[in-house]
Symmetry: C2
Subunit: 340 residues, 2 copies
């Protein structure tokens, strides 16, 4: 297994990316290809104590970087030699099994779509982070790749999310819910109302384990394994979860810092609190898979540190092993929504 990593993407590139790549290479037993400025990567390796490029690691030198301010729709035409574009092309050409970048989400999505291509028949690739729930985990699809969606996109997301939950979370027959503002069939906008009918049909025909509309609160309680929604609402949900997670973190910190007794209390519950914190910590998850692309592409958080990259490597390895892309290709006929 060979993982290609954009060494120049994200707020902490290249040092943390390189550090995480070296750690992940050893820990998960994969080969690594780093794309980016060769001097900068070598210098980062030295800072990690590696004077030579380690065995199992390769550098593909590039001269340009996709910046956050670059227009995603034109950057790969304007800049031909970016760490992201070269990495995606290497993935397309079979020089690796998965690609990871902590760079611009928009550019990565556009690049994956243009260079690696979607699975034939898939209308839009989606971002599908795994979020914590009271009883376990759930896949949230889409969470920002497609702000404006059609019922067909959402029906496809339901299948993509279901395969992903099955293959990467190991959930048999994942329960698929349509994110809505109430459980009743009449709730939501036209998008939800029309999507609901298609998903009910897919459920009745036994193609999906569709449980109906679900509110955000019930989803977080563990009411379903796959939360299907448009990229706008999905992003609002994801960012709200992150926001309240950090709100709770700072509230708890100030509670425990109050005086000597509360500081003692903090010591007593520290292991539990750390577990709780890590459930809500994006660095522990690693990244978000782009589902619907014909090869594995993982978006790591822009603020990824070495630990996040290390975890993203495991995630990429598991994604590449999972067989989810085969699932999608073999079931593409089910995902066609034609106006009757």
């Amino acid at each position: 297994m060979r993982i290609i990593i954009d060494a120049m993407g994200g707020d902490n590139a290249p040092l943390e990316i390189v550090k995480g790549a070296l750690a992940g290479q050893k820990r998960w037993g994969v080969d690594i290809v780093l794309t980016g400025d060769e001097d900068a990567i070598r210098s980062a390796m030295k800072d990690c104590g590696a004077d030579e490029v380690p065995r199992g690691v390769e550098i593909v030198g590039t001269t340009e970087t996709v910046e956050m301010c670059d227009d995603p729709s034109t950057v790969f035409r304007r800049k031909k030699d970016t760490s992201m574009g070269v990495g995606l092309t290497a993935l397309r050409d079979g020089k690796g099994d998965a690609f990871i970048s902590a760079g611009s989400t928009g550019a990565l999505l556009t690049g994956a779509t243009l260079l690696v291509k979607r699975v034939r028949g898939i209308r839009r690739a989606a971002m599908a982070p795994v979020i914590p729930t009271t009883t376990g985990k759930a896949v949230l699809i889409d969470c920002g790749a497609n702000a404006e969606c059609t019922p067909e996109y959402l029906v496809q997301f339901a299948y993509l999310g279901s395969f992903y939950a099955k293959r990467t979370l190991g959930i048999d027959n994942p329960r698929v819910g349509l994110l809505n503002i109430g459980a009743e069939d009449s709730k939501g906008t036209d998008l939800q109302k029309e999507t609901l009918q298609w998903l009910q049909k897919a459920g009745a025909e036994g193609h999906l384990n569709f449980i109906g509309n679900i509110e955000a609160k019930e989803a977080i309680k563990g009411g379903c394994d796959v939360i299907v929604t448009d990229g706008f609402s999905g992003n609002v949900m994801l960012k709200s979860i992150e926001g309240i997670g950090s709100y709770a973190g700072s509230a708890l910190k100030s509670i425990f810092k109050k005086n000597l007794l509360t500081k003692l209390a903090a010591l007593l519950v520290m292991p539990g609190l750390n577990d709780f914190k890590s459930q809500l910590d994006p660095n522990k998850v690693g990244g978000t898979a782009f589902i619907g692309i014909s090869k594995p592409v993982i978006k790591a958080h822009g603020s990824s540190n070495a630990e996040a990259i290390e975890n993203a490597i495991l995630q990429a390895k598991e994604f590449a092993h999972s067989g989810i892309i085969d699932d999608i290709e073999q079931n593409i006929d089910l995902m066609k929504v034609e106006k009757e």
Copy 2:
């Protein structure tokens, strides 16, 4: 000040509603009108230790109740003598200064619009809960009344939310943000892109303190005082916050229950934890104001207990005192969005 309360609305009616009404009447020095089944209300009063209807409390007997399964758009035509409809009519007719119900949100919104009417010129009334942020509080408008919105609705919500933040949260010159999936002007759907232009114009002209697009995470960090969005996304945000709040609550509970030492720790930080919990507890807030209606209407949570009703009474009193409806009426010309 006279507050009309639907004694039959919500999961815990009439006992908890009546209990909260009696407590609120004494505590906040207001008169109360209870609408609903007279026998049931009197019996609930007895359970609260009041053999007679207390001074300052009045019962208006009704024979019907709006049920959760009733169609909001027809219920007030089909059922002429409901506790909700009679209460709203009494508000319209000046028999009270505000109305509170824990019953069906959809029916209350429709009833308020049909019976009490919107402020002239307001396209849609919005639900505007106050949510906790890391640095204080923010108004989230809309959060479910209008799943499908136009730019004009959102521009009006910006003004409504701004007046509400100023008048009820006491924030001078409230910072208004447009909820979006990124801060850049190009983010979001057509709805956000068009609304952004109108709000930027209102900001440039000095009518609103508009700070631009804001992500859910930044909003929860306290990045603005008024979060403007459509009812679908707003509901997803609100319910995600509630969901993660209860997730955090149950996670903390299990951390502290682990063993004797962690139970000791719980005792040491109990006051702080209770404060934290109450910040995320809907019963402490009381209810959500419907803004844009020509008189104060407050939706209490469906699961409201007596404490929630007591707090909703204070909220209704403050709303009626605040002058926000005058603000809206006097500034209605600013809120007109005409295609140029």
